[in-house]
């Protein structure tokens, strides 16, 4: 569970002060698939970065899985991200020198998982996303959609408490986007995975359980969809 209370984030640019977030509060329950939407520049990425411990709020408090993140030092924040959070970025960001399988198990290696265990986990997650025949491929031998699915596998291999995704379909055509969104939905349903996804495509809302709309750094709408 994530509790965000009155988050503000300002960027001091010298002459001007940019108010990226002006006071955002929200609570995310375990197993929710949340879409954060809004126009470009409305503060979606900023909010995601704060919730995902990639940035620190100017004001406000974040409680992640019962931990007030302010109490964590940099090293602990890194460990927290490694062990309990997962990320998917717009441009996949696979390590180019690693194969599909190596990309997926890299963080498991760092977590100290045994080789047998992480290889099995990697195989099973790649099988689930339909790429188990690509274990030894390099990123440039895969399509954009496939690369993004490998990135999702990398984020999921550790079964994170929360999976963050910042516009994961922005570089994909609509068919690949659907594939990727279907995968997120499947993970969310079958594994009760909490997902926080930033998007600015209206048609993505059909996948989300709950849609939060930002405008100028404020939440203007927060609605559970009644399905």
């Amino acid at each position: 569970m994530i509790i965000a209370e009155n988050l503000t984030r300002t960027y001091d640019m010298g002459k001007v002060i940019v108010h990226a977030l002006r006071g955002v509060s929200l609570t995310i329950q375990k197993g929710e698939f949340i879409g954060i939407m809004g126009a470009s520049g409305s503060g979606k990425s900023t909010l995601l970065h704060l919730l995902g411990l990639l940035d620190k709020p100017t004001k406000g408090r974040i409680t992640l899985a019962g931990v007030d993140v302010k109490t964590l030092n940099d090293r602990q924040r890194t460990r927290f991200r490694l062990k309990r959070l997962g990320y998917v970025f717009q441009d996949y960001a696979l390590v180019p020198e690693l194969t599909v399988e190596e990309n997926v198990y890299l963080t498991s290696m760092i977590r100290g998982t045994s080789k047998e265990e992480y290889q099995a986990q990697t195989y099973s997650i790649l099988e689930r996303i339909g790429l188990s025949d690509r274990l030894n491929h390099k990123h440039n031998e895969l399509s954009g959609g496939q690369q993004q699915r490998v990135a999702i596998a990398r984020a999921m291999v550790n079964k994170p408490e929360i999976l963050f995704a910042d516009e994961p379909c922005a570089n994909l055509d609509s068919e690949s986007s659907r594939n990727v969104l279907d995968l997120f939905k499947q993970i969310n349903k079958e594994m009760a995975q909490t997902i926080v996804m930033v998007s600015h495509e209206d048609w993505h809302t059909e996948y989300f359980d709950r849609v939060i709309i930002l405008r100028d750094g404020l939440i203007i709408s927060d609605g559970k969809k009644s399905d």
């Binding site: 441009d91 180019p96 963080t107 760092i110």
Partner: protein, 401 residues
């Protein structure tokens, strides 16, 4: 920690194997050249010194030189001293010399030279000059009216090989006139020509001790110096100490002392040149490795930001690049060592020809080890700094790049 290093090494191996081949080979080649440069120069200098050592021992002074006390012109009771020295354990033989300045004349050529009287049977046991007769024969004990002359004094057939003034191609069997300082002038039969390759030895002229006594008209028990050959496994400084135990006033110098005296400055200059070469080489290595890693890391800024976002520690990322540098350095050192070894092998068969002899590079293991260590230290720094700079960047700044 160990786990993190293993992950860094895992990333480094992948980074090297799956990164750009061209830049990898080029980097290894440059490190190999730098290493070769660091090793080769000192090996040639060591080669020079080795030649000088060999020549001093083999053709000039043997292992130990005894010369008169600085206040005196001669060693008195020379043959009694020779007897004593011959009995020291570790001494093979001492040979007594009496040298004097003379003027040589042949076919209108006149040349000042140093004439040395020797006992050939002793001398044969101390120097190898007798094996280096390019024409005619070496002297024998008791011979009169015979002289042997070094090629740099007699002169070559091909004048271009002469290094200074000569008598103009004097050969075995020719007559040569020797004018002594006491006014005596005498014609000698040239018994042989010496050609050792050592400029010093090839300038001399030799007669027998009996001939010296007949010219001076009396028994000679004076020496201008005495040279000593020791056992191959004797340690010269120990023998020197033993000689001093006789309580003699004479000056005793090992070949090491002489080399130091003769080449001290040259060796110092060489050492200086050497250091400059090594420093320049290391700077090249630092710059190349620094640039290679800087380009690698700058190209991977976003990548590095993402890895940090995923929870990869900064040190794992830095050590990845440090390992890459160390692996490239290792490969460079291996290629460089192979290069040096091949060059040494070739130069052993086809040595550099220098006036003082044939110079073959001598690679000192200590130089190999020291330079390898220095190269590793430098490589470590050159990898660490750019990797640290990029890996220390704020996650979001790096990811936005």
């Amino acid at each position: 920690m160990l786990l993190d290093l293993r992950v860094s090494f895992f990333l480094a191996i992948r980074g090297i194997l799956r990164g750009s081949r061209g830049s990898l080979y080029l980097t290894i080649l440059i490190i190999a050249m730098v290493f070769t440069n660091m090793i080769f120069m000192p090996s040639i200098i060591l080669g020079f010194i080795k030649v000088a050592e060999d020549q001093i021992i083999t053709y000039q002074t043997g292992n130990i030189l005894i010369s008169p006390h600085e206040d005196e012109a001669y060693i008195e009771d020379a043959f009694a001293l020779q007897e004593k020295i011959n009995r020291i354990p570790g001494v093979l033989r001492a040979s007594v010399h009496y040298s004097t300045g003379v003027t040589l004349r042949y076919k209108g050529n006149t040349l000042g030279s140093n004439l040395v009287a020797i006992n050939p049977d002793d001398e044969r046991l101390v120097t190898d000059v007798y094996q280096k007769m390019s024409d005619g024969y070496y002297l024998a004990d008791g011979e009169n009216d015979e002289i042997i002359i070094g090629i740099q004094t007699s002169g070559h057939k091909d004048e271009s090989l002469d290094m200074g003034a000569t008598l103009g191609y004097l050969k075995a069997g020719d007559p040569v006139t020797v004018e002594y300082t006491n006014g005596i002038s005498k014609v000698y039969h040239v018994k042989g020509i010496i050609e050792t390759g050592s400029y010093y030895a090839d300038q001399g002229a030799y007669i027998t001790w009996d001939e010296l006594e007949s010219v001076y008209g009396r028994d000679m028990d004076l020496a201008t110096d005495m040279i000593v050959r020791t056992d191959p496994d004797a340690y010269e400084p120990d023998v020197k100490t033993q000689i001093y135990r006789f309580g003699i006033r004479e000056k005793v110098q090992t070949w090491q002392d002489l080399l130091e005296e003769a080449m001290g400055r040259a060796v110092q200059n060489f050492a200086m040149l050497n250091s400059i070469t090594i420093i320049v080489s290391l700077i090249i290595a630092v710059v190349v490795l620094f640039i290679v890693i800087m380009i690698k890391t700058l190209n991977s800024r976003r990548q590095i930001g993402v890895l940090k976002a995923l929870g990869v520690e900064k040190n794992i990322i830095i050590h990845n690049y440090v390992f890459q540098v160390l692996i490239m350095t290792t490969l460079g050192v291996i290629v460089g060592t192979t290069l040096v070894e091949s060059m040494v092998a070739i130069l052993t068969v086809y040595p550099f020809q220098f006036p003082d002899g044939e110079v073959t590079p001598v690679v000192a293991i200590s130089d190999l080890i020291n330079n390898t260590i220095m190269l590793y230290i430098v490589a470590f720094i050159a990898g660490y700094i750019p990797a640290w700079r990029v890996a220390s960047e704020d996650i979001l700044t790096a990811m936005r790049s």
